[in-house]
């Protein structure tokens, strides 16, 4: 254990800050500004903390670093175990990066219950960082579920008209997926006990050491993949996303698109694939098919959206499809591209939501048809909008290009058919984004309401400049991010290289013949259940 429990501090800081916020007396909203500043200050300190983590990170090591491990519920082998590797490091940094921006962008747009708003934002940040840092399946699940509550309130209380519907749909969809994952997690711990002779463990690293029997891999992988696919969201599990995005307040959308969706892909990469490599290899073509459908479908649906926010939301379905495709390729390029695209999507889509939020703050509408010719009235905002649009499309030199390129490269090496179809998504994204950009910003100012719009305020410049800077940095110097990821990704690739999908076919076949795959005696490879196991009281 490190001398300073850095990771625990990162999780605790926003949480403690949130609780402290509650102590500020602000019954009638007289100290809203102060509360906002305090929350912003906490989130900036948090961001500095994540950067500090980065500077202390050894980029050559594939192991988990800053590991903290304390027994939590020892009778079940549950630990409070945290650690960071090249994959999770940048997701933590991304969370730290986006939260202050989200808080800053809600400066003017959130009027009611500001204290509670900031409270939920900080609690959310704490839970998100916890998800990325957990090295224990139980702990991971706790953070995974705990994160739903603040997001639910953010959408439900501070969202737009149909916010309640969206909030309930969000929480029920996500939970429905994740409880099946919980069963699989419990099953996995039990499998560990069977394989090792009686010791239960939820530790990620310990679970990687055991060989999960194939019939179990089949079901466990399905449960995990479903939970993560809903979160991603992978086609056809995406229907909660447009509702949640459109109804959420700007800050909520930024966090939702920027960080929460990454938890799905992160979960696939961190847990579903390495824990069940054979099942993953077996299911990869199916997942990739869904991903490719999502890429094209998301792009086509985006094209016809009249609402800018919905357009960005559907474009996320498309972009996240790329990420999943890269994961399925399971080679270095694909995985690097995926992780890079996760970060890059967080930056560009976060930026797009921020811009749409700014327009919507001014006009109280997000319909494309309501705008036009904005470049004449607000040139600075449009310039920022332009850079972010290009970054989202994947223009070389900006962040989006690197990820998409690597993913397509990886996918091509794996199966050129997927890469070919996915590549059309790149073209389509240029079409819908540029078309939207053109309709909103070019031409004459037709709607008189747009004539007097104010350009970027100082505060908004502070919101958008970091995003643009990040987009450029990630575009021109990708190796800053790619190098530290590499060892961790190599480790995953090496593990996946040992996968034997052919053996899965037999297990799947057995299940289709009506042989119950769950703990059927014939398939069990580990020793039979041991009588002195702590729970084998029967």
């Amino acid at each position: 254990m490190a001398i300073v429990p850095m990771l625990s501090l990162l999780i605790a800081l926003p949480l403690v800050g949130a609780v402290l916020l509650l102590l500020i007396r602000n019954r009638e909203g007289e100290r809203d500004r102060f509360v906002h500043w305090v929350a912003l200050g906490i989130s900036i300190v948090e961001f500095v903390g994540t950067l500090w983590l980065w500077t202390g990170f050894d980029p050559r090591s594939a192991d988990f670093q800053f590991v903290e491990r304390v027994d939590w519920i020892p009778s079940f082998g549950i630990q409070y175990a945290l650690g960071v590797d090249g994959i999770s490091l940048f997701l933590v940094v991304l969370t730290g990066f986006l939260t202050p921006l989200a808080l800053l962008c809600s400066w003017e747009s959130v009027h009611k219950k500001v204290k509670e708003f900031c409270f939920f934002m900080l609690v959310l940040e704490s839970a998100m960082i916890g998800v990325f840092l957990s090295l224990d399946m139980f702990l991971f699940y706790v953070f995974w579920d705990a994160m739903l509550i603040p997001m639910y309130f953010l959408i439900g209380v501070w969202g737009y008209d149909r916010r309640i519907y969206a909030a309930v749909k969000f929480i029920l969809y996500t939970m429905a997926g994740s409880v099946l994952m919980l069963v699989a997690i419990l099953g996995l711990a039990y499998t560990h006990a069977v394989a090792t002779g009686g010791s239960y463990s939820f530790s990620y690293e310990a679970l990687l050491q055991i060989t999960v029997p194939h019939h179990l891999q089949f079901w466990f992988f399905l449960a995990f993949a479903l939970a993560f696919a809903i979160k991603v969201p992978l086609f056809p599990f995406h229907t909660w996303l447009p509702d949640a995005h459109v109804e959420a307040p700007t800050a909520g959308s930024v966090i939702l698109a920027g960080v929460l969706l990454k938890m799905g892909t992160y979960g696939l990469l961190r847990f579903a694939f390495p824990l069940f490599p054979d099942a993953a290899a077996y299911f990869a073509p199916y997942l990739a098919t869904l991903a490719v459908i999502g890429i094209v479908y998301g792009a086509l649906v985006s094209m016809v959206q009249p609402d800018m926010k919905k357009l960005v939301a559907y474009s996320s379905v498309s972009h996240l499809g790329f990420v999943v495709l890269g994961l399925c390729a399971m080679n270095v390029q694909g995985l690097q591209g995926s992780v890079y695209q996760m970060l890059s999507h967080g930056v560009s889509t976060g930026g797009l939501f921020l811009i749409v939020g700014m327009l919507s703050d001014r006009r109280h509408t997000r319909l494309i048809s309501e705008f036009g010719g904005l470049k004449h009235v607000m040139p600075k905002l449009v310039a920022a909008f332009f850079v972010i649009t290009l970054s989202s499309i994947g223009l070389p030199g900006l962040n989006g290009f690197v990820g998409e390129f690597l993913i397509l490269l990886g996918a091509f090496r794996w199966d050129p058919r997927f890469a070919t179809v996915a590549a059309t998504g790149v073209i389509l994204s240029a079409v819908y984004m540029l078309w939207m950009f053109q309709r909103v910003n070019y031409g004459d100012v037709t709607n008189p309401k747009n004539k007097g719009l104010k350009d970027l305020s100082v505060r908004e410049r502070w919101v958008i400049t970091p995003i643009i800077a990040m987009a450029i940095v990630m575009g021109v110097a990708p190796s800053v991010f790619l190098n530290p990821m590499r060892p961790a990704i190599d480790r995953v690739v090496a593990r996946m290289a040992e996968a034997q999908p052919a053996r899965m076919v037999r297990a799947a076949g057995a299940s289709q013949k009506g042989v119950g795959p769950i703990f059927s005696k014939t398939e069990r490879t580990g020793p039979t259940p041991i009588s002195h196991a702590p729970f084998s009281g029967r």
């Binding site: 009778s75 579920d145 705990a146 439900g156 029920l172 069963v183 419990l186 039990y190 006990a193 029967r538």
Partner: protein, 479 residues
Amino acid sequence: MMSPALNAVIPVICVVLAGLTCMLAEAFRERGERLPIGGLGIIGLVGAAISSVLLWGRRAESFGVVVADDFGLFVGLVLIIIGILTIAFSSSLIERDKLPQGEYYALVLFAISGMMLMAIATDLVIIFLALEVFSLSIYVLTGLRRESFASTEAAFKYFLLGGFSSAFFLYGIAFMYGIVHSTRLDRIGAAMAAQSGAASPLVLVAMGLLLVGFAFKVSAVPFHMWTPDAYEGAPTIVTGFMSTAVKAAAFAAFARVFLSALEPLRADWVPVVWVLAICTMILGTVVGVAQTNVKRMLAYSSIAHGGYLLVALVAGNSAGKASILFYVLVYAITNLGAFAVIALLGTRDKPVEQLDDYKGLWYSRPIASFMLTVFLLSLGGFPPTAGFVAKWYVFTAAVTAGEYTLAIVGLLTSVVSVFFYLRVVVMMYMSGRVEGEAAPPLPRTALAALVVSVAVLFYLGVLPTRLLNLAASSISTIF
């Protein structure tokens, strides 16, 4: 010093004495004089708690029919906690609703004494006796608002159906006696274990009758019919009391009878309880979704929670048995807290029971809304509340016992149940501000009890180890 023969029942005696004192205090007080009668009850309960702790690990036996093992004492302590919380919540409510104080506290204490006895009884006749002691008290408590038609009807319905179930139970005892020539659980267990081959039809009949009796008390489907009406009609705080205490006591006896005496017949009763568990979870949840009255909604939710406990019973391994204890405690604190908030929010003329009554409550009663939210999230099983750990514990037991179907059904129904818990949250936080007269603050005692409950829920949600270990070690004493 009492004779050793009485050791096992000292905690029960403490509670009975407290009940009697409350009754006498009420009888002897001057007209208009205000006596802290509830305080007397709490003193008695604390005495019972201390004596339980002193008895811990000693396995005191009385008359061969009562054994104060750690399991019984654990449940007893849960019941004492329920009692203390109930009294703390009630003090202001009784005055508000003009309920007869002395009788109220005495009945609560008598009910608790019966329940505590039920938890430590190792003889079917004593179990029946205990069952009747607490049931009769609760019938009366249900109908305590005599001027209210709903309350009277609920009490009558509960009484009639409860009478039937008692008859079933008694009939089961009679059959059992006919077969084994004893009503003591250890002798029944020995006789059952000695049986070779399939169980005789007579044994199955006896077991079935006992099962019906218990299923009624824990409101398992299809014996749940009385629950929504009785819960809705009873004074709200009584609903909270009966939904938690009755479950705790009944499950304690249920577990003791079925997991020790009838354990040899496991293969015969598990399929039945399995079906009951599935039906209970599904019906409790699905019908709960349709409710617009929050009390009824919580009644169905409590049916569903009974289903989760049945899952633990079916799992039957050591994690399953221990999870019954943990779950019962967490559920007691959570549900009692929820009912208490509902009771405290209303006034004598205007109870806050319909969903619509919760509109914009966050704006007028932020603290009460926050607490209710914590209780509801814990009922729904969200981390980091204790409800999550409790559910997780139950489903771990199910998975390790290979009961994947039960675990999956249980988890999916808990997702659906989230829908109706969150509906109250939606009403409180998301449906806009409703202007109205300023709400009275929460009474101090009740507020303190609520704060403690919330703190305990978070504590057990984050650091459950000690209690989990305690539950696991105490459950091992009966088998």
